[in-house]
Symmetry: C2
Subunit: 240 residues, 2 copies
DNA sequence: TGAATAGTGTCTATAAGACAATATCCC
DNA sequence: GGGATATTGTCTTATAGACACTATTCA
């Protein structure tokens, strides 16, 4: 088949050649107990029945890519407002056996307490633990395991998409406005460090971490302290 | 119009709803005399006749996104092999007056000596100087000026796409395998520093730069030296 | 010889890691 | 009081910036 013409020499028609289908897939990430978790849906139909898929949907002709991602996010996870970032677009010719499907992928960061109760297990939803690779930014496929610890088989190239989401989160780990999306409004420096360690897949020096965070000027001490802990309570901080 | 269904609950038909058109646009970047330059084509027809556009084309039904980008790159700039990286996908509903067109954008890095003579001025091609914003990674629109110094009006959202390309190059500036795509096979540390300064939009400390580059282990001294310079010749290095 | 740049050595300032000492909570 | 963690301060080490000095080329 001849390739379609370039976009500068022809004005129209836009529809003289077959077009790929266009979808969005959203990696909904949250942090629980020192592990990243991702929202997945077990497929009931072929292809890939039984495998676990990222929430996704087709892009409507009258909605932007971001709008499509937010629509999917609300329909599948009940999330109206959250941090959302485009990741990468996957377009291998045979990535989907149903036909030529190009997917624009997104990462959504949701604090655990806002996601709790929004995912419906009766619709096949699971919150799967992400097996974060050690250190290096990697970029390849990333595995997910069920709450029971069983590795999940992911739909199509969704393990690679998950890998992109983790890699991007690592790049953004020092941007407070991003990582704070995975915490409550106020948090201790210890909680912030635990989140950094979860994302980066390595342990960090406590003294250096505290100094670096406070020197960054991205956080503001609230003057109040955590409560009901069995040790000296730490001061609570928030995004400046 | 109702949105199309999600991708997990329906198996088919994929083609029951109108689909956006899908294109690729490629930001071909090169470095000349301390400035980044981008390959642009002046449009001869509406919409946007007279404005300057990135080389682009529709994605064929039987080629991947990367393949489409490489096809455009060879057809428009005669470049067969070069560094190519996906940037971002732009999908605002009204970004193109011809209809709903979603574009997957790429950045290509080509050394000046390989691009020289490949762009045909009779086809409207120009190698425009990129006005690199100072320091901060920015991300917004970036301007391009003609060889005569005249600011060019860019087609559609192509100034934003160019901004993405510059921002991404800044992120990759410390990856030798990337920046070396803009140099000859062997180069002096002074040339490497000039390239870093061009990309980052700021001047760098010479001593610290040398130490940091040599300590990174990404470069190998060749033992030979530059020739025909009016001062002490510097040693030539290459990517390890 | 003079101009210009390459390359080396040294000093200082800043940031990170290690570790000790004290403070504050619950039991 | 004992256990655990927060917070502060100090010391050491690694890296970056500043600057002086020597080396090498061409005019």
């Amino acid at each position: 088949m001849n390739p379609p013409p370039d976009t500068t020499s022809a004005s129209l028609p836009l529809d003289a050649w077959p077009r790929p289908s266009l979808t969005v897939d959203v990696v909904v990430l949250t942090a629980i107990d020192g592990s990243l978790h991702v929202a997945l849906y077990q497929r009931e139909i072929e292809p890939g029945a039984g495998t676990f898929a990222l929430p996704g949907g087709f892009v409507g002709i009258d909605e932007s890519l971001d709008e499509a991602a937010r629509r999917v996010l609300e329909a599948k996870a009940g999330i109206r407002r959250c941090y959302l970032e485009q990741l990468h677009t996957f377009g291998a010719v045979r990535r989907d056996p149903r036909g030529r499907v190009v997917t624009v992928t997104y990462s959504a960061l949701v604090p655990h307490h806002e996601l709790f109760g929004q995912l419906d297990p009766h619709k096949g939803a699971v919150l799967a633990r992400v097996v974060v690779p050690l250190k290096g930014t990697s970029g390849g496929a990333v595995r997910a395991v069920s709450p029971a610890g069983i590795p999940l088989l992911l739909f199509l190239d969704h393990a690679h998409i998950l890998g992109y989401a983790v890699a991007r989160l690592r790049v953004r780990v020092d941007e407070a406005r991003v990582v704070c999306q995975l915490l409550r409004r106020t948090f201790t420096l210890r909680e912030l460090q635990a989140l950094h360690e979860t994302i980066r897949g390595e342990s960090l020096n406590k003294d250096s971490f505290r100094r670096r965070m406070l020197a960054s000027g991205q956080f503001r001490a609230t003057g109040s302290y955590e409560m009901a802990v069995a040790f000296r309570p730490a001061e609570l901080y928030m995004l400046r």
